[in-house]
Amino acid sequence: MNPILAIGILVITGFFGGFIARRIKFPTISGYIIIGICLSLLNVIPKELVSGRLNVITDVALGIIAYMVGGSLNLKSLKKLGKNIISITPFEAGGAWLFVTLLIAAIGFFSVGFDFSNPNFSQVHLPMGIVIGAISCATAPAATIAIIHEYKAKGPLTTTLLGVVALDDAFAIIAYAIAISIVEALIISFKNISLFRTVINPLINIGGSILLGAALGFGLIYASRFAKTRHMLLVIVFGTILLCTGLTKILGISGLLANMAIGFIIVNKMKNNENMFGVIDDIEDVIFAMFFTLAGAHFDLGVMKVAGMLSLLIVVGRCSGKFVGARIGASISRAPIPVKKYLGFGLLPKAGVTVGLAILAKQHPAFSAVGGIMVSAILASVIINELIAPPLTKYAIFKAGEATTP
């Protein structure tokens, strides 16, 4: 099958998946992912294409996601969020990261068996735990918003929930960049490379990404002066995201952080910046339809015997980490009692950034042997979460007394 036909199939089938999902009140992304999984089960698109030439879709889509997430970090808005949200977010996200890492590294070492010889704890289970843990920080807002809207929920829990969800994706992208740096350091430290390089490499990776993104961000502000129409602006913005993603691949630094830095510079340093993100809205539907359907197509039923156990560890670790972390954060910031007791129940949906980061991790050389298992496990955990999260969010809103309709 040629790649263009594959992309056409992804977009058209994904469209109908998203359409049906919206009809049955599920997030559009879930529809794309499930259709992608079906395409994989029916073997419609060859595996070598999914994990080969179509990877370019992943890179472009993640560049766009990171740019938009960076654009959500408006310092004026962040200052208005209040101390509860600012305090709770690192704890609930960090809690998920820590619990998932510990569960995969500790329990996974004994219970998740791989079909290759000598799966080493510090080279397989620990790195996998650290990266999946970082990916677990993300929370998807679609399901939460749908429930808040359905029950016209209003109050401190609802406001805190929305604020924390708004910050989580940025936190997850930063956590992922740090996690990959730690994993690379862990792996190279076993190759008798100096401690200096083990420490300095992550710093170069993270610092270099931010510097490149900032430079391109200021460049984009300047270049945007030449755009006289929205179409021209789209060309410049989209071109800069591609340029950034391509350069980071050459330099071996994080494209996610760099694109996020571009979005951050634009939203905070440019007047009248709404169009800089609005033009991306015009094209994101088609790119995300192909990307999230493709992500679903990475699912491999053949590895589910191993990935199934891993997905359960992810679900349990993430739920407990979010719950405990939110409670600790709420106690420290002296948030109202309903926030402290029920916030964790509302933070369980995950889809967009989680899936994107999982596909990116699969492409990383450190996970060449277990990448397929990781992605299948994360996709399975996304589906489980989409099923269990809405009733729990509803429970939290009703228990907090913030639902205004029955």
């Binding site: 919206r22 997030p27 559009t28 992304i29 996601i65 938009m68 997430v69 654009g71 959500s72 970090l73 408006n74 004026k76 808005s77 208005k80 969020l81 998807a140 807002p141 679609a142 918003i145 808040i148 809207h149 016209k152 929920a153 209003k154 609802t158 406001t159 929305l162 604020g163 969800v165 708004a166 910050l167 994706d169 755009a227 006289k228 129409t229 929205r230 602006l233 979005g263 007047k271 009248n272 910046n273 709404e274 169009n275 993100f277 994101e284 539907d285 995300f288 999230f292 967009g352 950034v353 994107g356």
Partner: protein, 163 residues
């Protein structure tokens, strides 16, 4: 003189209806009722522009959640939007008319233009930002006037002898 070389200062209107940050929702709706245009510059005592308020901004009072959080959420992948609650179902107390002020709902991300710019540049800005009226300011962002698509068309028609 060709139309496309017309400067903004030759076309703009200087008698601009403005509001202050402290203008109440009730006063704002009174102004909207009185005039046919529903986008107003928000200025301070020294005429410095600090924002614009449009009829669409009034819809923010129907959002049960803080607008700055919803604006952050808008940047998440495949954001399906947050529809304002059914206007007839919303429980808004009468005090909102005086408790809500322009500062609460105005947009501070203001597109402005210099009076020395050409009408062609003004039209480009309008197309780029999908606007029909742009405030005209000096270097210190003091409001000098306002230019609309209507003003530009009017100038073109006069130049061509249509009017």
């Amino acid at each position: 003189m060709e139309v496309r070389k017309l400067l903004v200062k030759e076309v703009m209107r200087k008698d601009v209806v403005t509001v202050k940050e402290s203008t109440t929702l009730r006063e704002l709706m009174g102004i909207f009722y009185k005039y046919t245009f529903h986008t107003l510059p928000v200025v301070r005592e020294d005429k410095k522009i600090v924002g614009v308020v449009a009829l669409e901004d009034v819809l923010k009072i129907f959002y049960p959640h803080p607008p700055h959080i919803l604006e952050m959420l808008e940047r998440t992948p495949l954001w399906d939007g947050y529809e304002e609650n059914n206007l007839l179902e919303v429980d808004i107390p009468p005090e909102m008319g005086v408790l809500c002020i322009v500062e609460d709902i105005m947009n501070t991300n203001v597109v402005t233009i210099s009076e020395e710019a050409t009408t062609v540049e003004a039209r480009s800005l309008m197309k780029l930002h999908r606007l029909k009226r742009i405030p005209v300011v000096d270097k210190e962002r003091h409001l000098l006037g306002i230019i609309s698509l209507f003003d530009i068309i009017l100038a073109i028609f006069k130049e061509k002898g249509i009017l």
